[in-house]
Assembly symmetry: C2
Homo-oligomer: 193 residues x 2
């Protein structure tokens, strides 16, 4: 239904060039003489974006939903008691305002609810409804099939290697974070009062 094509400029990353030889894309930014780290980053980005785009498209086609909504529900399914907004924001690595918006949507669709948080009247606990849980389980099953298919180009041991190296990378990034952000932490509100 969503696939009727009129112009050519759309469909960029998907149907346009199924298996061409001339690969000119994000990675093109990397010159021959560029450093290793930059090449790695661009390749990492390129792969991730491609996979994400495919998942996004399929979620829309088959379940009429979006990736952020799916991700939020996935987090909730993992946490029996539900999660507070700020915890969702942290785990999904998106802004608080964004979580508000996505939660609004899901609540309107009857897939999650905001419940009062005992002991803190500022906060909510967001939970999946029964419908939401059922719906998520359907999607999650398909989703995993897609991932297995898309990453199927790698052998088991290659996947294992990647997992390990990425773990190391993640640890490093978390460390490197604080160093760059230290400067001005103390310029708080209240000055205006």
């Amino acid at each position: 239904m969503a696939g009727t094509s009129t112009s050519t400029m759309r469909n960029n990353a998907s149907a346009s060039h199924p298996s061409n030889g001339a690969v000119l894309d994000l990675e093109t930014r990397a010159k021959k003489g560029d450093h290793q780290a930059l090449r790695l980053w661009l390749r990492l980005l390129s792969c991730t974006v491609r996979i994400e785009n495919k998942i996004r498209l399929r979620l829309r086609r088959e379940f009429n939903t979006t990736l952020p909504r799916f991700d939020l529900m996935a987090q909730l399914e993992r946490s029996a008691g539900g999660l507070r907004m700020n915890e969702l924001s942290r785990r999904l690595m998106v802004s608080g305002g964004n979580v508000t918006g996505i939660t609004d949507q899901l609540e309107r669709e009857g897939l999650v609810v905001r419940a009062d948080c005992p002991g803190d009247r500022r906060a909510f606990t967001v939970k999946l409804t029964d419908t939401g849980l059922k719906r998520f389980r359907e999607m999650a099953a398909r989703h995993e099939q897609w991932i297995i298919e898309l990453l199927g180009g790698l052998a088991r041991d290659e996947q294992e290697t990647m997992i390990n190296v990425l773990w190391k990378l993640k640890a490093h990034i978390n460390g490197a974070a604080s160093a760059a952000l230290k400067p001005n932490r103390r310029s708080q509100a209240g000055g205006t009062r």
Copy 2:
């Protein structure tokens, strides 16, 4: 100057937990029993998003610009004669309408120009201005430092391994693409008639 902090809910993925033991984020979606491919995907996504967020933040802080604008300029710098809009759209893996918007911005800022395309009056050639080139070079230098810093947690040979495995992955994805999209390829305009 953009760094005055008021609320806490921002800065989610960065300053909140510099080096804690409890890592609960996107990857939390993966249960212990989950399959390898899914774990790999979530870890890949998690790392990419973290790095992207940091780069985005720094581009804003130091150069008051954004990632898409930087990416577009990067493509132009690589192509001496400039690039047409549709080529930019393809390489950046975003829609044509999006490229129009980003180009408008950069043109307003005097960093790129649309030049007539000899031989095809439908098309433009987008080029960096002198200012744009100068500005990009400054940003690119910093950008590469950041990448080297952020990926610096990996040894040379680990980086090399990743580059190779990701290359294989990318090739696979490009192939897997067409298979899933085959169904309705020929529902083109004119089909209605």
